[in-house]
Symmetry: C2
Subunit: 341 residues, 2 copies
């Protein structure tokens, strides 16, 4: 059974039913939810974000709400949905229905099933940010025939041990909340700790320089309002189980770069506290001739993809449409982005 | 009333009763516990550590247990208790008896009361690490006649906003634990998060490179055993209230470097995630001619003082006994450390 997709203009969302043999969670029947936006004959580019991202990357004719990478999918951008067909999906486990370890290999296999079901032989490009980059690397190892080019932003072949420890403690915050059926408080605290890993001291120094307050006999520092808001916004839309299992999934992730079967553009951010530059370089070395490294310096650290829209867009344009890149010069996108060989 | 001190050889510990007009906690009667180790006629150096440090800096004739800076107080070291008289005390609030904001100015005033009670006109030197450096800066502003030279290690005139946010979230972990009367679990988690701020990704990459395990259906990363042990060790000896109030105290801390009345050696660690080098430089600039900066690069980050014993010892020797430094060349220590003008 395949539920019918809804359509409006060039936008379509829907679900496919799939049976996935997972690495740690047995064989699961599940439904894969996707959005596909753009002309039917345009090259297909899959866009995948962090563990709390989803299929709604940007507003479209079917769903006018802003998406998680709203600024990057727009007229004139590299990811212009009038010129490319943009595919995105909800990660396996994102609905909280799997309370078992989920591997990035499972996500890659799910992408392959989704492409099969949608009749897409191969992606012209795969733009993966953070967890999406991890899944992209797995796709490039397990199903290299399904993508022509991978752009891996702020995500590499393995988690850094310090970042893994940081995430493990976030998971413990959720566990502590659960002891008293205060799932939301635990998840909120986990998110707040995560925010510190996504951003940088430079940004905090600029934004939160004010003196602390004493409220009800307790010290409250300048960043706490911001952190409260970040936690509250997060718990309103993410389930604790989904978040826990996808957080674990980052720490389970391991890919041998030598097994990656397609060209990869590695985009690394100097200042990213989760993915040190040394690990991006190690990935590049492992990729040999198939890799190329682009470096961005940003006070937004790991979140640069979401915040440095113009600079990320310029990098995506050159990696998708530059000489020898996956999308041909004859495509209409070329004129729009002004890239010449 | 002043409780009698206990003595053995050159070691003495005791308490003085004091009345302290605090900044936020009113006027308090409290007992200040100290240890004083070394010859009665030797120059007195106060050693003060992080918020969970205490008066027992190293084993001595009265108390054979290892102290919190055991390796730095030893024969042949700069801080040789056979040649200097080493004073240390328990911070105000360290016993958990004050459940109100505690300022570093309160600690400095307590030091002045302690010196008065012990008949010590002025410290030859004050070696402050982390919170101890903050208290030392306050002492140098409020009671400059009480010390001839301050060595401030890994602590400056103000908290960094990012570090303050990190501590605020640790305090929230304690609050989350308290909701369910699980103070120890909250405090343990807070300590584990603190460990990430004290150490560095470089150290974690070397020590915790192993693959994650799956235990009882959950992912467990390589650093978790270490973090568990760090949390358990901490909750066994620190009360949640004491820790919360001293953690807050770091975030309340503000000193105008221009008001510092004594020479200061600023020792900063490149790689310290709590005290960025830029803040040590800002302190130095504010100190004008009274400051001097020494920089150490260490993969132990903020904890370098506790881990890089030989290198810290060498810096302390040159800052305490070098040319123009607070302890005279004619002191017997000079021959022992081999420092010449």
């Amino acid at each position: 059974m395949r539920p019918a997709a809804a359509r409006a203009g060039d936008a379509r969302h829907g679900s496919i039913d799939a049976v996935l043999a997972t690495r740690f969670a047995g064989t699961r029947k599940l439904r894969l939810d996707y959005e596909l936006v753009g002309p039917a004959d345009a090259p297909v580019v899959l866009v995948a974000g962090g563990i709390s991202a989803h299929r709604h990357v940007a507003a479209n004719a079917l769903d006018a709400r802003a998406g998680w990478a709203q600024g990057l999918l727009d007229a004139g951008r590299a990811l212009d949905p009038a010129r490319l067909r943009i595919l995105a999906f909800d990660y396996v486990g994102a609905d909280g229905s799997i309370d078992a370890p989920i591997d990035t290999a499972d996500q890659a296999d799910a992408v392959a099933l989704l492409l099969e079901a949608l009749g897409i032989d191969a992606l012209a490009g795969y733009v993966g940010y953070s967890y999406g980059a991890l899944v992209g690397l797995q796709l490039a190892v397990r199903h290299p025939q399904r993508l022509r080019h991978l752009i891996a932003v702020s995500g590499v072949h393995r988690p850094h041990p310090y970042a893994a420890a940081w995430r493990a403690l976030q998971r413990r915050a959720v566990a502590l909340g659960r002891l008293q059926c205060a799932d939301e408080q635990g998840l909120s605290l986990a998110r707040q700790f995560a925010m510190l890993s996504y951003r940088t001291p430079e940004e905090f120094a600029e934004r939160f320089d004010a003196l602390p307050q004493i409220c009800n006999g307790q010290v409250r520092v300048a960043a706490e309002d911001y952190l409260d808001a970040a936690g509250a916004k997060f718990v309103a839309r993410v389930s604790a189980t989904a978040w826990l299992r996808l957080s674990e999934s980052i720490d389970l992730h391991r890919v041998d770069p030598a097994q990656v079967g397609v060209p990869v553009s590695v985009i690394a951010v100097e200042g990213d506290r989760l993915v040190p530059m040394a690990d991006a370089v190690a990935l590049l070395e492992g990729l040999g001739g198939r890799g190329r490294l682009r470096v961005l310096r940003s006070s937004y650290g790991h979140d640069a993809f979401l915040k440095e829209t113009d600079r990320i867009d310029a990098l995506l344009a050159s990696e998708l449409f530059g000489p020898g890149k996956p999308i041909e010069r004859s495509s209409p996108i070329q004129a729009a982005t002004g890239v010449s060989a």
